[in-house]
C-alpha cells in the first residue's frame, strides 16, 4: 500500500522542519540533514512494519516521528571517531 509510505515521508520531513535540522546537504558531515537519514529511517521502519501486517494510519505517523527524532540525535547514537585515532 503506497499511501503508507507517502504519509511516512511527509510526516518525517515535517518533524525535521520542526526540530530545526540543517537544510543544505554536506557530504562530509556526520550530522543529520532534514532529508537524508530521516527518509531512509522512516521508510525502512515502515517497510518492516508492513511486512508484519500493519495497515492502520497510526503506524506511518509513528514511523515519521521516530525517523525525525533519531536523525536529530544520530551523532550521539553512533558517534564518529576522529581521523588517525
Amino acid at each position: 500500500m503506497i499511501y503508507l509510505y507517502i504519509i511516512s515521508v511527509v510526516v518525517a520531513i515535517f518533524v525535521g522542519f520542526i526540530l530545526r535540522l540543517p537544510f543544505k546537504i554536506d557530504i562530509d558531515s556526520f550530522e543529520g540533514n532534514v532529508f537524508f537519514p530521516t527518509i531512509v529511517i522512516s521508510l525502512g521502519l515502515m517497510a518492516i512494519l508492513e511486512y508484519f501486517g500493519a495497515t492502520g494510519y497510526i503506524y506511518p505517523i509513528l514511523t515519521g516521528v521516530v525517523g525525525g527524532v533519531v536523525s536529530k540525535y544520530i551523532n550521539r547514537l553512533f558517534p564518529g571517531v576522529d581521523y588517525g585515532n
Binding site: V40, G44, Y51, F78, V81, Y83
Partner: protein, 170 residues
C-alpha cells in the same frame, strides 16, 4: 549432478554484471571515495597499492571499499533483498546498510544512495521489462567486485583513477 547453461543465461549474467559495475563505480566516484581516505585503514591500503605500482586515488577507492560498506555492498544487498522480498526489501536493506556505515565511521551517503539507485535499476529490469530476474544481479555484483579487487589490483586502480578524472571529481 546435471548442469544446464544456455547462451541466454550467460547473456543475462553479462548484462547484469555491466549494470551493477556502472552503478557502483559511478555512485562511489560521485560521493568522493577516490578523493580522500575515510578512515586510517583505507590510507594504509591505498599507500600499499601505490607502492606495488598502482594509482593512489584508485588505491584510496579500494581501501574505502574494504573498510566500510559503500555502494558495492549496497548494490549486492539491494539485489539480495529484492530477490527475497521485492522492492520493500530494498528499503529495509537501505536502513541496515546505513546502520553498518555508521558503525564503520562513515557519514553514510554512498552506501544508502547506491542501494536505492540499484533498487530502482533492478525494478526497471525485472518488473517493468520482465527481462532479467534478481538472481542474476547477485552473480553480476560478485563478478563485478572480483574484477575490481580480486584479479589485478594495479590495473583496476589505474582504471578507477582515470574514471575519477573523467567525471571531474579529482
Amino acid at each position: 549432478m546435471e548442469i544446464n547453461i544456455s547462451i541466454l543465461e550467460l547473456f543475462k549474467i553479462l548484462t547484469a554484471f555491466v549494470v551493477c559495475w556502472i552503478n557502483f563505480v559511478v555512485v562511489d566516484t560521485i560521493f568522493g571515495l577516490p578523493k580522500k581516505p575515510g578512515v586510517y585503514g583505507a590510507e594504509v591500503i591505498g599507500k600499499k597499492i601505490e607502492k606495488v605500482g598502482g594509482n593512489i586515488n584508485g588505491g584510496y577507492f579500494m581501501g574505502n571499499i574494504v573498510c566500510s560498506p559503500d555502494a558495492s555492498a549496497g548494490t549486492l544487498f539491494a539485489s539480495i533483498f529484492y530477490y527475497v522480498l521485492g522492492f520493500k526489501g530494498v528499503l529495509i536493506g537501505a536502513l541496515l546498510i546505513y546502520i553498518g556505515n555508521r558503525l564503520c565511521n562513515d557519514p553514510g551517503y554512498a552506501g544508502t544512495i547506491g542501494t536505492i539507485t540499484a533498487g530502482i535499476l533492478i525494478y526497471v529490469f525485472s518488473d517493468v521489462l520482465h527481462l532479467i530476474s534478481p538472481k542474476y544481479f547477485i552473480v553480476g555484483m560478485v563478478i563485478a567486485i572480483l574484477t575490481i579487487q580480486g584479479l589485478y589490483p594495479q590495473l583496476s586502480s589505474k582504471l578507477l583513477g582515470h574514471i575519477a578524472k573523467k567525471l571531474r571529481v579529482l
